[in-house]
């Protein structure tokens, strides 16, 4: 029986997992490093609160790729209700006040959870890459000894 080329299997599965990890990590780390700190800075504003809160809301109104505003479990209902409220407030031209911060943080928290999901998924995929790499090295050495 012809032996399957395990080296190629480990190499390609490791590469695929690595590429997937990079794809998943990119939006998550962009959100963690750039978007979320920017929103938090706007939410900590003490002057021009309404304009800064609105700007923060407009940033988080665009959903994270892993945290779309489409499927809400019971925990997510507060996010949905907050969005309905802020959409209406901004559409009708009303000002946002410091008391609104906690509700904006509810929406931001969904984004943070989505980033966390992306980060853990990319870590899992990286560990798959690491395992595949170790198997590849082991297989390469074994086939070298056999030759």
């Amino acid at each position: 029986m012809k032996r399957i080329n395990d080296k190629a299997l480990y190499l390609y599965s490791g590469l695929v997992a690595l590429v997937l990890a990079a794809i998943v990590a990119a939006p998550s780390f962009y959100s963690i490093l750039i978007v979320e700190p920017g929103v938090e800075m706007l939410l900590s504003s003490t002057e021009n609160v309404s304009a800064d809160y609105k700007e923060a809301y407009m940033i988080i109104r665009t959903p994270h790729i892993f945290g779309k505003y489409e499927h809400f479990d019971p925990e997510g209902i507060s996010v949905k209700n907050s969005m309905v409220y802020f959409d209406r407030m901004i559409y009708t031209g009303q000002d946002l006040v410091p008391e609104h911060r906690q509700y904006l943080e509810v929406v931001l928290d969904r984004r943070k959870k989505a980033s966390r999901l992306g980060r853990y998924t990319s870590l899992f995929l990286l560990s798959v890459t690491a395992i595949a790499s170790l198997c590849y090295i082991f297989e390469k050495r074994r086939s070298g000894e056999q030759d």
Binding site: M58, R61, K68, Y69, M83, D87, R88, I90, Y91
Partner: protein, 163 residues
Amino acid sequence: MIKKYAVSVCALLICAASCAKIPEKVQSPSLKIDIETRDGAEVYSVRFSGGIANENSSTALGDVKGSVVIRDPGSKKDVFSIPYRIDMILPFSMGIIDAEKICSKTEVEPLIGLFNINAEEMARNKGSEGIFVEEDRISLAVDSYLKHDINTLLQGKINEKNK
């Protein structure tokens, strides 16, 4: 072959992404018939109220026009229709239909029959009580609407206010 398949899949994905969910049913529908006298003649005012939900997460529906149709579930015939227009329904929000139609007695009679309204009592009270319309007696038609991306819409409102 693969290229053709890829193009079709991409076209389908783009189409699916750009399609907005259109409201299909009226929530909490109710109607009320009032008898009024206008220019010396007796007219019937049918007032309908209900809500239609925008279930889209990022698409607001603007200038929604259509009609609510009351139908006889037995004969499946449309007995009455009332047009409506809603200025804007934001995502996850409910647009309120509050429509009124002035009509003659002959136009209203099928409604009176369908909901078993006591005509004498209605004449005495100059109107009926509020009537809840069951789901099988109503259908919603959406004739036209405009799709607005919520981010663009809200950013426009912010810019408008900052001017």
